[in-house]
């Protein structure tokens, strides 16, 4: 997994509460091979007009947006389906962190496993940031996971990144969780032997 330590970037604001994973990547693209990259499918339908052309009003289609690596989103971003394709699409597009008031739980976990940092900030702060960016599009945000803080532009201040210690350590080090879990294999095997003995129907 790619580590996440610190990222400084302009920010693209993605509007809409409850932006579900179907919006992030429509289901019909999920059968694609990851090797071809999922970035091309990011927000596929909502960034286009009904005629299929890129919609200039969609923030990600505006000049300068292509170099941004941080998104600002609204409440409950990534709710809905467990499709990890939503995270692949963001990552393959080059997004490294997503800031918002709350995230779908499975999306949040999927993001962490792919080196994409979801940053929960209180609603008021997200709103102030959106208002600020509406006037100062190039305002830079720094997400510093080492220091566990986000530095916002203008006079919006510095805010703590609240994340559980285990997840923070894994993503900071780019740790491979499967390899790490294998170091506990003796415990797993002991536990499993007892469990299967008392629940023999699990082993049929």
């Amino acid at each position: 997994m790619r580590a996440f330590v610190r990222e400084a970037s302009k920010v693209v604001v993605i509007p809409g509460m409850n932006c579900d994973t179907d919006q992030i990547i429509p289901g019909r693209f999920l059968k694609s091979d990851r090797a071809q990259g999922y970035g091309q499918y990011l927000f596929h339908d909502i960034r286009r007009t009904s005629a299929g052309a890129l919609d200039e009003a969609f923030p990600l289609n505006q000049a300068g947006a292509e170099t941004a690596t941080i998104l600002l989103v609204e409440d409950n971003f990534g709710c809905g389906s467990s499709r990890e394709g939503a995270v692949y699409a963001l990552v393959d597009h080059g997004i490294r962190a997503v800031i918002g008031p709350s995230f779908g739980d499975i999306f949040y976990n999927n993001a962490l496993k792919n080196g994409l940092l979801p940053v929960r900030l209180p609603s008021e702060i997200c709103h102030s940031l959106a208002t600020h960016l509406a006037h100062a599009k190039d305002g830079e945000v720094v997400v510093d996971l080492q220091a566990a803080e986000v530095v916002l532009p203008g006079n919006l201040g510095t805010h703590p990144v609240v994340i559980d210690a285990f997840a923070r350590d894994c993503i900071l080090r780019g740790l491979d969780e499967i390899d790490m879990t294998f170091t506990f294999m003796e415990h797993i095997q002991d536990f499993e032997a007892k469990r299967l003995a008392s629940h023999p129907w699990l082993d049929r």
Binding site: N18, Q23, P26, K31, D75, S82, I178, F191, D203
Partner: protein, 474 residues
Amino acid sequence: MKAALDTPRTLLGKIWDEHEILRHPSGPSLLYIDRDMIHEGSFHAFADLKARGLKPRRPKQIFGVADHYVPTRGRTAQDAATPAIARMIETFDENMQWGGVRHFSLSDRRQGIVHVVAPEQGITLPGLTLVCSDSHTSTQGALGSIAFGIGQSENAHVLATQTLWQLRPKVMRVTIDGVLAEGVTAKDVMLALIAKIGAAGAGGYAIEFAGSVVRGLSIEGRLTLCNMSIEAAARFGMVAPDDTTFAYVRGRHYAPSEQEWEGAVAYWRTLASDEGAYFDREVHLDAAEIAPMVTWGTSPEDAVAIDGLVPDPARFDSADRRKSAQKSLDYMGLKPGMALQGLALDKVFIGSCTNSRIEDLRSAAAMIKGRKAVIPSIIVPGSTQVREQAEAEGLAALFRDAGFEWRESGCSMCAAINGDVIGPGERCASTSNRNFVGRQGPGARTHLVSPAMAAAAAVTGCLTDIRRNGGGVA
């Protein structure tokens, strides 16, 4: 086991403690996973395993079933809508064979939607931990298990280790007391709950459903409740196992045998939340206040009673909500103040892991009463077994005679990735769980309803209050 014996514990707490191999100093538990259910979307996890030179560690505890991409007009991969979709089904079969994983492929009589099949086969049991790389795995907590959806990275972790690192969620108890009115189903209860607490309302929580209504529900109704927990952002939905559960489970293929039965039930009886157990949040619903529900927007929280009106976004309390509601109405082609009842529809879909079990089909059939579907209406049973049972009971013939299309089982128009789609701008009454923008096809407009409401809509061509005319339709 690890908590002091006299500390009252919740259902979730008891099963969690029982499965905690160890706790990491920084917080999460390493949980033992009893069962992993997989479907066609698992190809990423298999690619990951192959790249690492690993195989599924405990193939006997893994079950595969083809559902998301399967055709509903035939039972071979060649019947798939496109060659690319056929390829998904074939890849799945290949991966199952490669991994030595037991699987119910397209032509198997045990095939169906994963969350319908697992309880049906006795794979889901009280007291187990069960995962599936699908958000609606919450469905399966209805039998008194910890069941939750995971992504493909987590799936690869389970396949490789039969464990997962998880933070223990908080628990919200949702108590539903009283008596449900005629025509009000588990689906309506959930739409009412999500409208009340919001689509993000249970984020970070496991929901335990309790109260007289829940006790009185069949397992199928409880599966519907737990199914839609995820639409309120709860990853888990649970109901404490009771006699209804034990009667349902007994004799199913992967359940404990008759010799093992008494011991298993004795243990399962200890799982209910203790008197005085602490819940992080309590929510109460009065059954009498719940009407048959319908959604008007593009989030399951956008639900009102069928005799209600499309709300005015200007009256929502937050600016974000006003903006989102207006966007939903534009997409749905609705105006504030419009009556939902009588709204003309283009299609009806009865299916999905929310509402495609035999009781759902019976309740849909009861609404038809000799009338004909006046708009294209399809019924996709949740499993091949449900399909066979409906055929044996004469329901299939009744649906066919009424002009409904009677299909083979699968996810079909719920996720619209197998080629069954609603056209752009078309309006569909659907028994599925998500009314998201584009969920049933680009530009498709979805109204979530119960099976009875969907069947009534099919024979009237519009959203219809099933309480009118003594439970029949106008």
